[in-house]
Subunit: 596 residues, 2 copies
Amino acid sequence: MYLEHIESPADVRALPASVMPALCAEIRDAIIASSAKVGGHVGPNLGIVELTVALHRVFRSPADKLVFDVSHQTYAHKMLTGRAWNYLDPTRMGTLSGFASPVESEHDHFSMGHTSTSVSLAAGLARARDLAGERYDVVAVIGDGSLSGGLAFEGLDDVARLGTGLIVVVNDNEWSISQNQGGLYAALAHLRETGGNAPDNPFRALGLDYAYVENGNDEQALESALANLRGCERPVVLHVHTRKGLGFAPAEADEESWHHVGPFDPATGEKLAGGRASGGIVAAPPATYADITGEFLLSRMSSDQRLIAISSATPYMMGLTAARRAAAGRQFVDVGIAEEHAVTLAAGLATGGAHPVYGVYGTFLQRAYDQIWHDVCLNAAPVTILVFGSSAFGTTDATHLGFYDIAMLGDMPGLTYLAPTCREEYLAMLDWACGYEGGPVAIRVPGAGVVSRPDVELPTDGFASGMPEIVHEGDDDVAILALGATLPLGRRVAERLAAADVDAELVNPRFACGIDRDWVRGLAGRFRVVVTLEDGVRDGGFGSRVACVLGPTGARVRCFGLTHGFPDRYEPHELLEACGMTEENVTRETLALLGR
Amino acid sequence: MYLEHIESPADVRALPASVMPALCAEIRDAIIASSAKVGGHVGPNLGIVELTVALHRVFRSPADKLVFDVSHQTYAHKMLTGRAWNYLDPTRMGTLSGFASPVESEHDHFSMGHTSTSVSLAAGLARARDLAGERYDVVAVIGDGSLSGGLAFEGLDDVARLGTGLIVVVNDNEWSISQNQGGLYAALAHLRETGGNAPDNPFRALGLDYAYVENGNDEQALESALANLRGCERPVVLHVHTRKGLGFAPAEADEESWHHVGPFDPATGEKLAGGRASGGIVAAPPATYADITGEFLLSRMSSDQRLIAISSATPYMMGLTAARRAAAGRQFVDVGIAEEHAVTLAAGLATGGAHPVYGVYGTFLQRAYDQIWHDVCLNAAPVTILVFGSSAFGTTDATHLGFYDIAMLGDMPGLTYLAPTCREEYLAMLDWACGYEGGPVAIRVPGAGVVSRPDVELPTDGFASGMPEIVHEGDDDVAILALGATLPLGRRVAERLAAADVDAELVNPRFACGIDRDWVRGLAGRFRVVVTLEDGVRDGGFGSRVACVLGPTGARVRCFGLTHGFPDRYEPHELLEACGMTEENVTRETLALLGR
């Protein structure tokens, strides 16, 4: 076995070319074995094995700098840079990040997990090199799926006039997370069909040099092409045609669902239960909020021909399986990885009389901050945004934290951000939002599993009022405002307080942003202590707004929420505990504030 | 005169083609006369007169929908849609918005002022039309300067596969706000040089149809070209070559400074003092923070060869005049309108060992929210961001509000956001930030004019500590935390309180985000009342974080800040008054909280 003896890229370069097929096969086996055990981005990593080997044989990392876009496809890179044990030793599998990590290795230059950044980052490295008068190669490796993101275009546009060397490898596997979308992919298809010779080359159009490798899983062909570019003095795009999932039949047969998977049987590809969410991308099992959402949308589409569901490359997240997409027809649009466009498109759709519903992971919605502010909110456009994965129980990678959404969406003037506590309330909010014309509505799809509350009190007049649900009317001078998925925690705290002879009021605020200020102010007249609970960052979150309103009243307000920071691959319960969000601690602090 | 008789586009269509040159001349005169009086986007509007007339003669607005990108170039459009009086009647000039406004007219479909949104908005309108089974034309008019924004690319990429009609008019005047930058502009230049026939056409590369009009100020030629596209059933780009500033010699001679101007002498072009800031874009007179910044950066560049200033099309905002840009050489880069790339590029530069300083208006920085979070903060990249125009005294258009920055940047883990109170403190912070390697730093360049405080207390160990400046140590139980430009207000309140025998502590917090939490908590031990003042939104702002920390202590905290919303063309003092931010009211409320 070669792989277990590779400590650094120098070891890869020292091997004869003839053993590369064997090395690539070993890497592929390791990807499958480790992903089968702990989950992972199987398809993207299988497709890029030969390219990674060729990059490390031609360039001298870390002096030459390789920047992998998104960095979810760096398993082979990690194996060749001293970290093969993470994929070979069953007892240590999954202990490293699934993404690039400068903490792990000098061969990783950035922490990242969002798409379309690599060209801009590489442009920065190349300019820093030039300012320092140094000489080395900078290589960005970007998948075709990431090219639809506007930032990648901005980067290529700038790189074109860099005047010095920078290599952009376009890893074209014909897939985004879901199927590729848009005009650029047609252009890539024309280039593939013509061996790179189609007219109106989108890269040459920007003034970039261009070369093409048809068999992007032929390591020797890649080495030759890359060797030609080593030390180049102009920016160049190398377009490489690879096969997503190559070498594992189930992944070759179903690229979409094998983009990222939890544990599976490596012999059959049968998926097992119990995978940890990572990278924002998990295929949705049934009876989830994904499924509930997809079922609702399809049903409503048939009675509302103007309802249109929008996705940016993650349709299954909102339950829009291939079958449902087909049934939706033109009432569904996947814009590819292009969150900014998705939001501004929704503003245009709403203004034109349609009823757009955009489903997106909260971490990716960050890309569209200005579009929500300027295109949706400034125009009071009746757009519905479903925010998925926003919870401490969402993805636990630092790159994809899901708990900054309330602070972010709280900045948006006129946006109603609803936080349902259960399935019944979610469906009522969704139903209301799809028909509401008064302005934009976002819904925080609960991130910690489906909860049912058959006794939930739903307002008869919709969710525009800003008024919360009083879950339990208390007789003593403390109120617990437990937002969204924290209601069970609030309930347990209330029970413990009751055991200490304190009858606390328990409130489901309903509104993560947009709660009625007068109602909040009124709390001061009834309660000496107000406790807020939220499954999101404390600073700038729901509770901080309550504290701000109650500040002058003298009421004691304790906001429980998550601390700002970038915890990485954390255990959600441990994170909550570190932030004091256990029933024991919340109870203890509440009693202390009451002077008990 | 024709213009004063035009009530709607039907009146334009009723006129014979032969009078169009005269009508265009009248429109041009009106642009110059009204801009001379109240300021305006002179250059862009002069260039687009003929195109606007042709659009309204060929299409049937508002049934056909015209979407002007940014909408700062809609003066002619407004004149032809019933609003000519705003440009003809000296007593009513400047009473309308300088941007599109659905409140003003059914011919304006969106409020907007940020770039690169029009294609996505038009895609939404076109899809809504198709869902409703209606038939009309949708036309996006986008300047070449806006094409570098990634959102425009995302929009074009999606439009390419729309399958129905949509017309994108590229108004190519060879200028962004500053000079155009990047590979795409080279492509446009090739197309202009070849009459639209250059190979590797960037629009055809995306699968869009394409046509070219060389003389984009020839109304009849434009009418013919547009008439060909009316009712088209495929998406198409019409590339039109216009002349920025056409018809006014000073604007033709200096495109950059005539992009937007305050009042001027229409005979000579001499600029007059006293223009109201609008649209975010005002040429900087000397002795401003712009000039202070430009002078500092140039000086420091000579001693630090790795310092690199970055702009996204507004270099003069940070004092980088043409002369200074020339002197900076490769230590300056203008990426064009591409804020996302600017920030991610800065992350790459910092990681590569360079010292990037990015200057940007706060309203445009919204475009780069995710890039600050994911590329800069997650990587703790030592990037310096100078945030301009962030104040109630910045631009007063709803499209360009400058007071959401603290709430936005407060979301960023590990970002230090400094709020200097004066010139001396600003320079000390800037000097420190440029050499600080501990993480990203943003500085809120004061928005309300240059203030000097020769007695300001500067820390000897830089600005990493989170510790504020105690401007006046008080003996009574109230502290006033007056952030940045609100310090003079805080001082006046303290004086009034002193007159009422209350010796308040006056604090310059220094940190809009990142103030030491223990220090804040310690306030509760010394003060019964804490008042915060900030020139930014209250919810999610500086004060709300103070309120959150002090919430459990029982201290009474009153946060003064601006209310969330979209005030349009407001008078800053009136806005502050409406939010209670006058010395009288702050004093009154403080005394009330003290029980006096």
